[in-house]
Amino acid sequence: MPSALPDGEPVPEDGALPGHALTGAAGRPLGFYLHVPYCATRCGYCDFNTYTATELRGSGGVLASRDNYAATLTEEVRLARKVLGDDPRRVRTVFVGGGTPTLLAAADLVRMLTAIREEFGLAEDAEITTEANPESVGPAYLQALREGGFNRISFGMQSARRHVLDVLDRTHTPGRPEACVAEARAAGFEHVNLDLIYGTPGESDEDWRASLDAAIGAGPDHISAYALIVEEGTQLARRIRRGEVPMTDDDVHADRYLIADEVLAAAGYRWYEVSNWAAGGRPEARCLHNELYWRGADWWGAGPGAHSHVGGVRWWNAKHPGAYAAALAQGRSPGAGRELLSEEDRRVERILLELRLREGCPLDLLRPAGAAAAARALADGLLQEAPYAEGSAVLTLRGRLLADAVVRDLVD
């Protein structure tokens, strides 16, 4: 989640949603995203909403500390219950992200999950994920999470090479993330993901292949691979501007992506979203929570700066943990702004999100100009022929690399 918040209209004090947001809700899955805004150190490339101080004070002296964070977040879960009223849905997915969720005690993460279970109930086959830092977890910690109900874990591996990790300011030891996968399996986690980053300044094709091989060797059932985005305002952006490290060319990014898809496919991982691969292409190996985002389902994002979406209403919380905690302490919604999506907004979002998926987006979402653009994209080899014939726009490998360009044409 990027740190800058969009512009929008204010959120009512009680967080109430317009009536239409819950119309037809029963037919949509509901997920929870829980944001943990703490890190031990800030990585040079990161622009997420995260803080290295353990205590942050909001207005009125309200203390937002790492130690009472689970309690603060629990208050927002209770607010969610009130706002959603008699919505009967059980929660289908929970995803704890950050920051570094595993800087909190395992018991804190379990406490937050328990709050959701108590207020909403969890679906029988609910997917419960947390992100984890390879250096801050061990067998006991993983055991505690598993026993507390977590069944999926995602480790930030990024690279197998020390010099690449150094540019990213990642402090973990190469090899540690792979060991984490084994420890997670031993603790009973069925689903394990490794996150990789390619295109870091100084990384070679060889380095990238080594990282992919190492990740595959650890045997997770899910791998995410992201091109490094150099965000404005980060340490890395400043270092690049000063010429201390080189900027990676887009063509290199393209080459690395092709390598990733080739190596991962050879090892049996199949893409199901532009940056995500699932072992054996099995649906249960996918990250169901992320699929909620991509398919326009409902999710409640709790925590500072977290974004939510329910029935065409998007809102986002106050960014600073102090301001966030202060709002909840006063019984107010921590929402800082929201937008009500128009029909056209929702159509555009469906195209831009669904086109990134293996299943693609239905051609009947397109207007005539967009449909003509789709026909051109097909002729240009950016869309696959067979799905097109059956009414879906599905990207080819080259098309995935140009997805944004295709989207710009298709929304016409």
Binding site: Y226, Y293, H307, D380, A403
Partner: protein, 624 residues
């Protein structure tokens, strides 16, 4: 401050002996408008509380750019405060002249309406090339010249040096040069006295058929065309029918009068008088500068001399960025033409740019002003092609073509190509002689001569092809002389030259809007530079795009814009979606500002780049 004199004679009943018609010749920024302001105040025609700076410059663009395009005439009553005519009320008609090289013809007509001129020169800068050119025009018209140094209150003023310079130019004594400060009003009263004392009264035949010369014609959205005239012989009376002698069109005088400085209706205008008339015509081309007006009944047989039709010298294609704005562009040009008899245009179609107009201008300033008004007053986003001159092409088979658009340059066997040439005059401090000569040589100039105006200021004269100065010559001249040089030019004819057309091909297709006609020796450098620049400015597309420069079928330069291979955001999760959608909306807006040339998206900057010649552009490569 002297108030308005008593017993002011009215228009149509003013003894010519009491009339003084004069104009002010000055360079931009030398203080003409400020001096006019002081005269308006001193003669009491504008009350103190209504005064505003540059009172006579009506249009915003004029005021902002500090230049005067349209002239006007103001009737000022003045009783000299000393000398032989002391206390006797005279009528001073101050005729404001345009200050730029493109409007030389209009200037010459303003001068023809006067018997004398105030030569106003900045005491810190000395005379400039255009002022000198206008001064020569005034001298040719036998006008009485009153030399004046302005801004003598400035610390940087050098009145002795520049008095000497002016004295040398017009053949007077340095101490005859008046020293004023239009800003503070110092010396302005003395100047008005001198206008009465030194400028001759107009001479005309009172009982002859009326003849009045049009020296300006302005479109006013409320009143139609307001025509400014100087009556030479006879008298024009209100409500009489008049005839334009160049076209024989007849009109009724709905109103006649003078400006002081607002329009004030009168019974008529007599010999030597200056004023305005309104006939209800809606288009300045029906009331042309230089034309003679006479009475319909018992009118004059012979027109006054000196009438010319304005002839466009520089052409440029103007296209709406958004093709659907074409009707608006046509309407805007129609409106501008109401007030600009020199503006000519005809529809043209470009394969690259769609529907637009080929527009002819008197010169570069004229082009700039028109384009700026179209964009500002009419809110149009335009692409203008590189300005070009008119070529005369003789084919071996004896046929002849007038080429106003480079893309229409004929193919096949050419016998001879003629291009217009100008006589250019540059005034500058003598330390820049070398730099100026070097610049003129690279522009195919032929030196005509050089004179020292004073110890350290020179006048350099060159024959130059007009095509070489229409786009960035003046900028280069300014930068090579740290802003000190001034330029004037006048068309002197044409010359045969070794000219070729350079085409630009994008993805194999000729882009007509990028074609230029250039000298053979410069074609290669031009092609290399432009191709490099386009490579930098055109964003990478989904496919590889070759960019080539060619003369006929011979490619002289080539670059390749590599295909874009990656255009996708790596992460798109819950908190990214709003940002992503908004980014998409922004990108769509950006895309709208692109022109599709064949299958290639070309940004507006690429078209503008063809116009600029900064050398930085071609250097850096492959940044995109």
């Amino acid at each position: 401050m002297p108030a308005t004199p008593k017993n002011v004679p009215e228009p149509s009943r003013t003894d010519p002996a009491l009339i003084r018609n004069f104009c002010i010749i000055a360079h931009i920024d030398h203080g003409k408008s400020t001096l006019a302001d002081r005269m308006l105040q001193l003669t009491g025609v504008v009350e103190q509380r209504q005064m505003r700076a540059q009172y006579l410059d009506r249009m915003d663009i004029e005021r902002e750019r500090g230049i005067t395009i349209k002239s006007q005439a103001v009737r000022l009553p003045w009783a000299p405060t000393e000398g032989a005519q002391q206390g006797s009320t005279h009528i001073l008609n101050m005729i404001d002249t345009p200050g730029h090289v493109d409007f030389t013809y209009e200037v010459s007509r303003s001068l023809a309406a006067c018997e004398g001129t105030v030569l106003l020169v900045d005491a810190a800068q000395g005379i400039e090339a255009q002022t000198l050119a206008n001064l020569y025009l005034a001298m040719e018209n036998d006008l009485k010249i009153i030399p004046v140094l302005n801004k003598i209150d400035l610390p940087a003023a050098q009145p002795e040096k520049f008095s000497e310079e002016l004295a040398n130019l017009i053949g007077c004594e340095p101490d005859e040069v008046l020293k004023v400060s239009a800003k503070t009003g110092l010396g302005v009263e003395e100047l008005l006295n001198k206008v009465v004392a030194e400028i001759p009264a107009p001479v005309g035949v009172a009982d002859a058929p009326a003849r009045a010369m049009i020296f300006d014609s302005v479109y006013d959205s409320y009143r139609g065309v307001v025509t400014y005239v100087r009556v030479v012989d006879g008298q024009l009376n209100k409500r009489e029918r008049i005839r334009m002698m160049s076209t024989n069109a007849t009109h009724e005088l709905l109103e006649i009068g003078s400006n002081s400085p607002e329009m004030l209706p009168a019974d008529g205008l007599g010999v030597g008088e200056v004023g305005y008339l309104i006939t209800g015509v809606k288009d300045v081309r029906q009331s042309k500068v230089g034309d003679t007006i006479t009475s319909l009944h018992k009118g004059a047989e012979e027109a006054l001399g000196g009438y010319k039709d304005p002839k466009p010298m520089v052409f440029s294609g103007l296209y709406p960025l958004d093709g659907s704005d074409y009707p608006e562009l046509r309407e805007a040009l129609d409106k501008l033409q109401l007030n600009d008899a020199a503006l000519v245009y005809e529809p043209e179609t470009s394969a690259a740019l769609g529907f637009g107009f080929r527009v002819g201008f008197l010169g570069l300033l004229h082009l700039d002003v028109v384009r700026e008004r179209l964009e500002r007053e009419f809110g149009l986003d335009l692409i203008a092609t590189a300005p070009n001159v008119v070529y005369r092409v003789l084919m071996e088979d004896g046929t002849e073509h007038q080429v106003t658009n480079p893309s229409e340059f004929p193919e096949g066997k050419l016998a001879e190509v003629y291009e217009p040439v100008v006589r250019a005059t540059v005034l500058a401090p003598s330390e820049f002689i070398g730099a100026i000569m070097e610049l003129c040589q690279t522009r195919r100039g032929v030196m005509l001569g050089m004179d020292y105006l004073s110890e350290d200021r020179v006048e350099i004269r060159y024959t130059l092809p007009l095509a070489e100065i229409v786009f960035d010559f003046f900028d280069h001249l300014k930068s090579k002389t740290r802003g000190y040089a001034s330029l004037d030019y006048e068309p002197t004819g044409e010359q045969s030259a070794d000219l070729v057309k350079v085409d630009i091909l994008l993805h194999g297709d000729k882009v007509d809007a990028f074609s230029v006609i250039t000298h053979k020796d410069q074609a290669y450098a031009y092609g290399v530079r432009l191709v490099a620049k386009l490579k930098e400015l055109i964003p990478r597309q989904n496919f590889e795009v070759p960019v080539q420069a060619a003369i006929g079928s011979r490619v002289i330069a080539r670059e390749t814009i590599r295909a874009i291979r990656k255009d996708v955001l790596a992460k798109c999760y819950g908190g990214d979606i709003s940002r992503k959608r908004k980014l998409l909306e922004k990108q769509k807006e950006g895309k709208k500002r692109m022109k599709m040339v064949g299958a290639v998206e070309v940004p507006q900057e690429a078209f503008i780049a063809v116009l600029s010649s900064d050398d930085g552009g071609g250097q850096s490569k492959g940044k995109k």
